[in-house]
Symmetry: D3
Subunit: 296 residues, 6 copies
């Protein structure tokens, strides 16, 4: 008898390979809020899938995965959310596991990247680098999204899902972020990044994903999947759907490349279940999660 | 950090006053199936309510309640469902707690009543009466519903949600069942029960509920709430909505009477969340659950 | 094996007591069109109800009812709709049966009333009064609705659902129309009818329905039920929901009075199933239909 | 040719009697966000109603009402929202008109009350009391809601829709707030207000509303209508539906009393259109708005 | 005047080329039940399509098709369903026509295949082979699906939609089943069928469909289309949507090959209309049905 | 503060390059009406998009666009609609701007084309050709749609969305209409146009669009986009969805060719927002509108 845990994710944190947690926060959503409900809905829909992935020839039963549940976050508390996410990421890495965060909106990525960079640089108060920390070689950020999220501010706010990759860039620096699927942005974002001078970006879906994966080699990667990278036909249930995205089969074709990445941490964000009356978006999110868990 | 348990129901089974479990089964639904999703959706919506009930002046925090999760039941396995429900009821009562089952459709009531009657009569294999068992005075069944569920068979099936109270009557006998809110039935059901010769029944909502509660005194009661007793305006999300039911305020007015009942076990059945696009039905079901827990 | 006929309405037209037909037309809907889908959806939901009515102690199986199917009407063809409805009403009455039309929007009432008035006055070309026709005493129109529908024109159109009772009044004359449940109208409608000089009207739900029924005695009645007479909590699925209406229990309480009416013909209009995602509106419409059939 | 303004609200601000504006903000919503979409959806549904109210015998055409459109508010900017609302309230009152704000969630009430209190006490920088300001007698707050909103903090936040009336109480003081329809709260809220020592509160719907209105006499009133005061059967489309509320007919019965109030400013908050798939909640909100405009 | 029959399918059974019937059964659905509503909803949506197919250059008007309506099946009666389907298949074939069954869930395929195999082997009680029966050469099963349905049991049940092709394999034997579009299964299913030793299977959508059709030549084929072979973007309204499926244009491209098959019987299963709020899934199912009828 | 105008379309008509107006009319819809709500819903969803188009490298801020609001049209008034549309087209062209009409259903195209042809031929009463009028070279009609709309009549009506291109052909003559994406029609339409003798038509999505654009050179074009040219996976929210259409990426690939057209006037029709519960169809329609505005 169990209720309310991701199917087949029943390892304790200590000893787990991957630890999943939800970050139910959507305060900065600029169009349709509601991504706070994503972790709960994904847990209840996950059982529609098999534990086994034919595409990867692996089963969740072969992995040691911990479902830590959801973080407690006050609805409008941008600062509190960042503390909670950073705390969870550190707890997972202290236990020698790897975090996979389920948003919530995209701003949740920022404290996760910051926490990992702090660990890599030994900046955590009272701590040197620990054995569970990623190596020195720096952190690459691989980012799938419809929107570049490179605005400097949105309606006067700098900590917004619309600015999250600009903030991440301030943390990781030039040349560390690779963006795929981007097809929307403010003119200012394109001007700032003209010639990809700060961030590598392609408008051509997952084109070049294999070459990127090969080039990265063993560099530790933070993988952030904003689900609106998918076309709204495949995933209407998101805050700001943007026509022109990838299909699930495009994503599946990238799995062998994704497998080659050295994923230190990951997130899946921006599912908005209340805008998904057929449930198909939530199921797609679940399948992305399963395949990602089996690739990591 | 927690995910997927009813808010404030975190006692262990041993030592709990009440144990809640889900019975996600809907195979015999005659119109719209889907009540299997009720326990999960109720858990995710329960947090929309406070733990405190102003109507009762009590809080869930003051009770020791165990959420046992959901039973594992194969979709079409009528027999397996009955074994699983009986097993859960016995486990709860063996632990000295009282069961509160969340359906699923109404047929789940049958094995629960049978299990309790078996305990009361000492029929459980290898067991005498145990300390957690209800006393000898017999079991009364208090039944809120739109439909009398007294058919002898439905399309050739005798074990169907449409026949469940006829089957229960076979177990508990004449004069033990009190039905409220009934406003629909086959002509044969009315003929069989003419003059309330087998079952007490009223078509007038919860009219007479107080007198009934007083008359029952301390007799152990199995309370079965088919949520379609509510008018479809209040609860559209059910398998067979039937116009003409009670409002939530009617239910609230009956709470003082409900509190006087000696409820040995209870169930709340027939919520169908996929037919409740606004979520209001699920929230009403949650409020009924909270008030019932605080009354028991 | 059957598909797509109202449950238990399988009599041939000749010899039937009542003949049901659909008029799937919604061209003049001023807010949300879609009532064209009402007859089809009502057929598919009707099986959620029993054939037997406890409130009336009667079963559909005891009546001889013919389901004639739906009229073929081009979407925007106001004139064609009127010819089709008049043709169907005449066909039913020629067969000695009574018509019960399911809209569609409210304008479908106009040609039905006209056809009956023509028969009563012997105006049908080439025909004297026939044996199936209502007697000389004139036709009373009993009208349940949220809106008085007494505008002389709506945006320049005189044949509109918003003007239908004004047009009916032109046919039946002063003092023949009784309106119940009215709670919305243009100022001009109230001025025109000040002191109920043309049409009897009450804003108090079904208040006075019993007295009205008694006063009418055996006068033949055309009964028109615009389902938006119900409060949107009970029936959200209609073109122009108007808060403040009756509940189903209010309607049920009026059934004994309704039974006393000499209903020569009736309609149930303005269900809009695409605005009824829970299905509860359609089921309420079906129950109104069942009780009306058993009262006629 | 017009698009996107409330029907019949086309007066310029100067010279208007009432000025309507939207405050599309929902960052502190604790369960289901989405009330930011309320002003837009209400504008598009308003045309389903007539301009004339039979209940009041008045038409919007007889009033001079200005629709100022919506405030520009960044999604998570609690401070910016407060500045924008205060600015709009002041602009309206400077023009000699009265503000009617459409939320958004309930926190928008706080800056509106603060702005008015500042004007009444002459605290506005560089300004004495102006001719458009309410008189000295103090401000009464009349509050319709399901939730008392009297928490001191919610998950660590003090500026939350769940705490708004506690904050308002800090501004207006003991004995100035009258709450109707309250049926939910944390135990701490009831303890704090035991014996109604700070805030007058009734759990009995709109019971006593008439006496309250009489007692207030000509005192300037801030009227705040949280639409979840209505039962979820009437209004499912809100952030935290709470069964047991009032019907529209209860509200209509209070209109004569509401007319007697000296309403200096008002708001209608917490409609969440994305949780209202039938549209009925939005239409009820529109009717509340129309009647309120005609009462002020 | 007609209501409730598939447009243009009005031939009597005797003399028809194809006979369509519905099998409204969904008791073994493992995730979202509701496919029982598919035949009814498809009838009501079918009129959105033309009778003529430009892709095939043919019209339904040129075929003699009988709509037999729906089978009467008790909701949980697995055995009764099998008897009813077998009876219908035999009735159709006795009349010299070919059955096209509309599910319902996938288990309905099993009794249909069994009935045909019984006819081919002369096993029907009291009957030799009849003139309407398929020839001796054996029966090939062509199966489009997302799931292989080759489990030996599902939660203890062997007669489940999740096991249907394993059961069919027991009837038709090795090498007779061709599966297309398969992208999900339990690990045990892949182990059992490793090297396609029992069943031919491809994960590559409809890749190889043309070659398969050519290879089959004139062998009689049972064609089973589980609509979840389509990607959830095209068909969200199914019990267990599985991302990664075919598009409608993929299906259209296979029509010339499908035309070459000697289809003795067919089914279209697993549409779940209540999970299809836009109606697009039902319309796609209707178009598949039309093209299949014109290909057979 | 603004409410209810398309973002960034705030130029006055005089001096604008393009003028957008809504034609909320859906009386002849043959399956699901509701396109009258398209202009309003598109305005409220448009803000989900950026003003800048990366695909085109242009921003709406660089164009002078006027949003004229919606035409006032009585629901069933086919004639009145035509007068209103013609009036608006003439007003726009008199002001030296170009009209972009948002339907409503497809019949709104007819009066727009007629008005332009009248101007080109100097037929407007009392007027010669004006400076804003298209040149003499004739008008080409480029038509994207799932349905050819070439019927001579539909259920007896000649002015229907199902006949609109036949009517347009009567105005512009042989060889002036180019249709793309067509995949549905009555047999009679295909017979009438066999060999493309009247109208150029391709069933292959946007295949050949580039060649067509090149061939047209500078000829003035009326561009009519019936949104059901898109596959229902991308755009379920339309009156008569037809599987087998184009994706958004197909449309995007045609933008460079679209840019080469000399578009004198355009329309976007047949979005039905009430059949689009996820909102994704409306957002796709908005993106088509943005790109079209930036191409014109």
């Amino acid at each position: 008898m169990t209720g309310g845990r991701f199917m087949a994710m029943d390892s304790p944190l200590e000893g787990s390979e991957i630890a999943v947690f939800g970050a139910p926060f959507d305060a900065t959503s600029s169009f349709r809020p509601g991504s706070r409900f994503a972790p709960g809905e994904m847990r209840s829909h996950f059982a529609a899938l098999e534990e086994y992935s034919p595409a990867l020839g692996r089963s969740l039963r072969d992995r040691r995965i911990c479902d830590m549940g959801d973080l407690a976050i006050a609805p409008s508390d941008v600062r509190g959310m960042q503390a909670a996410v950073a705390g969870a990421v550190n707890a997972v890495m202290d236990a020698g596991s790897r975090p996979l965060m389920i948003g919530g909106e995209h701003l949740v990525t920022l404290p996760a990247v910051r926490a990992i960079m702090d660990r890599m640089s030994g900046r955590r108060t009272g701590l040197g680098r620990m054995s569970g920390d990623p190596p020195d070689a720096g952190l690459a950020v691989v980012h799938l999204d419809a929107h570049s999220d490179l605005r400097d501010e949105y309606m006067g706010c700098r900590e917004s899902h619309a600015c999250v990759m600009r903030r991440v860039w301030e943390v990781v620096g030039d040349g560390r972020i690779r963006q795929f699927g981007i097809r929307s942005g403010d003119a200012s974002e394109y001007v700032w990044n003209v010639g990809n001078r700060h961030v590598f970006q392609t408008a051509d879906g997952l084109g070049g994903f294999g070459e990127m994966a090969e080039a990265l080699g063993g560099v530790p990667v933070y993988l952030s999947i904003d689900l609106d990278v998918f076309d709204p036909s495949a995933l209407p249930g998101t805050g700001t759907p943007e026509p022109g995205g990838i299909t699930y089969n495009d994503f599946r074709a990238a799995l062998p490349h994704l497998r080659r990445l050295n994923v230190a941490a990951a997130d899946i964000v921006e599912l908005s279940p209340h805008h998904d009356p057929s449930g198909a978006s939530t199921i797609l999110a679940c399948k992305v999660l399963r395949e990602l868990l089996l690739c990591m």
